[in-house]
Symmetry: D2
Amino acid sequence: MRKTEPGMTPFWDYIGMKETKIEEAHAELRLDITPELHQRRGSVHGGVLATLIDGAVGSAVRSVLSEEEISPTVELKINYIRPAHGEYLVAKSKLYHRGKSLAFGQAEIFDSNGDLVAVGTGTFMILNTK
Amino acid sequence: MRKTEPGMTPFWDYIGMKETKIEEAHAELRLDITPELHQRRGSVHGGVLATLIDGAVGSAVRSVLSEEEISPTVELKINYIRPAHGEYLVAKSKLYHRGKSLAFGQAEIFDSNGDLVAVGTGTFMILNTK
Amino acid sequence: MRKTEPGMTPFWDYIGMKETKIEEAHAELRLDITPELHQRRGSVHGGVLATLIDGAVGSAVRSVLSEEEISPTVELKINYIRPAHGEYLVAKSKLYHRGKSLAFGQAEIFDSNGDLVAVGTGTFMILNTK
Amino acid sequence: MRKTEPGMTPFWDYIGMKETKIEEAHAELRLDITPELHQRRGSVHGGVLATLIDGAVGSAVRSVLSEEEISPTVELKINYIRPAHGEYLVAKSKLYHRGKSLAFGQAEIFDSNGDLVAVGTGTFMILNTK
């Protein structure tokens, strides 16, 4: 199983995003909410939530790839349900489909009260680097 | 015209995103590419590009709002065209529609060579805070 | 519970789409596959699948509305997983959120073998006609 | 240039959708509004508009393909701006990008008064059938 560790993805480290679970076709990411991540009205910026969706679905995709395969994002879609406040956010993802050249999955983001704050999907291309 | 200045949106400042132009229903944002913004393969992380799309369309929406109106993002969609490298990125947005309670716009992101790296759209809710 | 019956939505009738189940925040639609619904290579046209997603999520939204409320579609997103063949299609939807002015849900489409052919989401506006 | 003629796509014929212009990376489709295409409140069903977006972007994609290449839809996104009424609809599309295995484009739908009723995008896979 291909894990994402601190030091591997600079932007994940910069905003404090961590992969906390990785299983076949599923992943979980966690992000502590700090003031730098706020938008103008004091909740977490939508771009941070988009980064969590991309990261969580991307981890679920990588969980089924070999070491030689990479998977850049093709497209990302996020629906924002309620403002994200509190201590931390958790994103839980699942893979819907892994084809020969594309993979598609979904992720849900919950706040530290367990309320759903956003839902998103992503399509990723599977490329062999060998 | 409602401008976004440094100090107003913590996450914009944290990643170095600036509103460089704002006109009726149009906006332009700029972001200098720094190593913290990279994904694992050395180009700009897709979450940063999503933040640029959200910000650029959001600025175009705010350009037609009154001081009492706010506009949280309802949904965001991004298509990634090519890896984003180089010195800086520019996002150019236009508003497609401003209704009574919703606004919808589009943004394109170009790298410092003028190549298109991503295209996205966003729907925003218009709320009166008075 | 607000049901959709034959005769209420001309385009549903024209393509043979039926609401077969409606519960609080959930719905199920069925469509028999006929040759008129094909695209050029003999599977069901993507526009038909989009109609099923819109219809299934729309039914889940209507399940929580009062008689005076209507809910036009704001935006729709579909990911196509595999070509849709066989006897019939079933779309199963769930509502993710019902706010004051917007509702958001998801639907999955299965073919008569039980294989997933498409996944989609929709945002709907809630308007009071009184 | 690969044209779409009546008789090639059953569902286009069934709803009366026609390709009226095809140029390098651009296409135009037309649909006469008939009562079968209505949703419950008497405007054109959102699934019909989704079919127009898919068709218009798909034609723009095919305009740059060889005879051996086919291009199934990967994902489709539509934003509905206003109810579609009147005599006919016109969809105008442009290709944003044609890569080795994917193509991405956008389409706008106008009613017979020239008002914008919907905007959408689509990603298509490019497959060689030889």
